[in-house]
Amino acid sequence: MQSALAPIIDQYRDCEGALLPLLHAVQAQWGHIPDAAIDPIARELNLSAAEVHGVISFYHDFKTSPQGEHLVQVCCAEACQARGSRSLESYATQRLGIDYGETTVSGRVTLERVYCLGNCACGPSLRIDDDVYARVDNPTFDALLAEKAEEPGL
């Protein structure tokens, strides 16, 4: 890992406020921020490991353990609530058999809540990886999951 980490750190070392872009890049590479990356990042950016940990824990996006192959995010903010997202919210956990913040046993899907995807005129909204879906009801949820995340058993 260290050999892959060094060039990433090099790329950001000299930019202003490097830590967030660097953490995003590390997470893009490994799917989470590996524990072993923290000391080198701290050292190279002249921070303490505690400071780096503090930043990682502050932001919802940064994960410290491996995540599912696909990230499924259900919007649970007001404009989607107005369109019935509360029912989608509970359906999603039931269908996947996991709670928010958890990953299916197969390792394929991590389920999260998100506050707004900017698709508020056409909710309920769902994001799978980098794609957003509009007017998602329970059957659409099943279909999208089968198509995009190939979660078996659906």
């Binding site: 967030l20 930043v55 508020c120």
Partner: protein, 514 residues
């Protein structure tokens, strides 16, 4: 004959199948040997019609609404032969009342062409403001913005020109322009639409701001929930650099301005400007006490303009057409236009740019129509998660900053979320507290602890556990949060909570007592 059609590349249009439709159309045209060009334009923000296909026809743009991949075959046949006979035909786009009845300044160009084509941007009036600014002194630019009456569109509505004056007057060897593109409010998507449909306008606005205050570096702090906007902005910046609109020597003027997009990491509070600055510095997004003002000690301690996407975009109109032109729109101390965003349970959701002053009822009924569900409307939340829930009796309030403040509401970033009668307002009040507890930066107790208590107290009221006493307790808690929180997160969460309790008390009764 080449058939030129337009199909938006926009988050909502894609969420409704625009990408898939584009592929189907291109594949089908290939099979049939048709000469088809699909231009991926920006969306016009009439999201209820997306995917909206448009076609050039005798100097007009004909529109076809809610087209899906399944319609590709019949649509192609119709386009080549008799377009207006297709069932999805909605008339010339410029005649659609939802669009025609708006007063578009900032969103005038949205949907006209390829958002990443710099020539299109120029042909449609782009960079005129910047060219004018290059011929002015910094003070003249700031004066023009002051005279326009433009107030910040991110929520707090602070006069943009006064902020710029402070940064211009501040002494610093380096100054920054920071664009707040965190757009965290539920029910808002205007920043996203602008960045996806007309990204050069934001770049131009930031460059004008840089000239006005003497800044050399800009950052767009973009929420990570907007991957498409991220891609489009990065590409637009690259093209603007190549064309000389950004870089060491802006259009040969000798002025330097560099621009970079930085991604947030899923924290609502990072929309608050000082939290945002900490985040940009690579720190936890904890809110800073003010003073010092960011205008004086902002990013890395340097004088910094922090403005919302739409504030910076509006500046291009002010500089291109003059402050008189801009401030002719609006009422009272709310000058210009605002991009209202119709969201939630609404038939015709989307972006409606209008001068300030229309009533909430007119905005919603004339543009939005009925609820999407067909059931009667019950409540409207204006101004995002920290805005009040308004019952029908308040809908005749004119949409201007002061009139809304008078009724205990706020216009904020212009989000208008509509709820039908199936909504339970105690659910909404509980959600507001829960959201605050979840997204609080943790710096001050009234917010961090108060919101958690708020959820518990609302639960007790709903369970019928000493409801009167707990109602009093909830109102006290709201007062404490409002008066003792450092920022509007804790300070304004009481707005949705109190309004729900005040206007919809019946929703807080326990099952047993009803």
């Amino acid at each position: 004959m080449t058939l030129r059609i337009y199909l938006p590349r926009d988050t909502t249009a894609n969420a409704l199948g625009a990408d898939r439709l584009a592929h189907s159309l291109e594949a089908l045209a290939g099979q049939k040997g048709m000469d088809l060009t699909v231009i991926r334009n920006g969306s016009r923000g009439a999201f209820w019609l997306e995917p909206l296909v448009e076609m050039d026809h005798k100097g007009q743009r004909l529109g076809f609404g809610n087209v899906t991949a399944a319609d590709a075959e019949t649509l192609l046949a119709a386009l080549a032969d008799n377009p207006t006979a297709h069932p999805s035909y909605v008339g010339p786009v410029s005649e659609i009342p939802f669009l025609k009845n708006q007063q578009r300044l900032t969103f005038e160009r949205a949907g006209e062409g390829d958002p990443l084509c710099i020539e299109t941007y120029q042909q449609l009036g782009g960079f005129v403001g910047l060219r004018n600014a290059l011929a002015m002194t910094a003070q003249q630019i700031v004066d023009e913005v002051k005279e326009s009456g433009l107030r910040g569109r991110g929520g707090a509505a602070f006069p943009a020109g006064i902020k710029w004056q402070t940064v211009l007057d501040a002494v610093g060897n380096r100054k920054y322009i920071v664009c707040n593109a965190d757009e965290g409010d539920s029910g808002t998507f205007a920043d996203r639409l602008l960045m996806e449909a007309d990204p050069f306008q934001l770049i131009e606005g930031m460059t004008i701001a840089a000239l006005a205050v003497g800044a050399t570096q800009g950052y767009i702090y973009l929420r990570s929930e907007y991957p498409l906007a991220h891609q489009i902005l990065n590409e637009a910046i690259e093209r603007a650099e190549q064309a000389g609109y950004l870089g060491d020597d802006l259009l040969g003027s000798g002025q330097a301005f560099h621009l970079e997009v930085r991604l947030g990491a899923g924290a609502y509070i990072c929309g608050e400007e000082t939290s945002l600055l900490n985040s940009l510095e690579g720190k936890r997004g904890i809110v800073r006490a003010k003073p010092p003002l960011p205008a004086i000690e902002g990013l890395f301690g340097k004088p910094t303009v922090v403005n919302n996407v739409l504030t910076l975009a509006a500046v291009t109109t002010v500089l291109a057409k003059g402050s008189d032109f801009y401030q002719d729109f609006g009422v009272g101390r709310s000058r210009g236009t605002l991009a209202f965003q119709l969201a939630g349970n609404i038939e015709r959701g989307g972006l409606v740019e209008l001068a300030f002053g229309t009533t909430l009822r007119d905005l919603v009924s004339e543009f939005g129509g009925d609820s999407a569900s067909g059931r009667p409307l019950r409540a409207i939340q204006v101004g995002g998660p920290l805005g009040a829930y308004l019952p029908e009796s308040s809908w005749d309030t004119p949409l201007d900053y002061e009139a809304f403040a008078e009724i205990g509401g706020m216009i904020g970033h212009g989000g208008v979320v509509v709820f039908d009668e199936s909504i339970n307002m105690s659910d909404q009040a509980r959600f507001a507290m829960d959201f605050c507890a979840e997204e609080s930066c943790g710096k001050c107790t009234p917010c961090r602890v108060g919101a958690v208590r708020g959820v518990e107290v609302i639960d007790r009221i709903r369970e019928g556990n000493e409801p009167e006493k707990n109602r009093e307790l909830l109102l006290d808690l709201c007062d404490t949060m409002e008066s003792a929180s450092l920022c509007a997160m804790g300070g304004m969460t009481p707005f949705p909570v109190r309004s729900a309790l005040h206007y919809f008390p019946e929703d807080f009764q326990s099952e047993g007592s009803q």
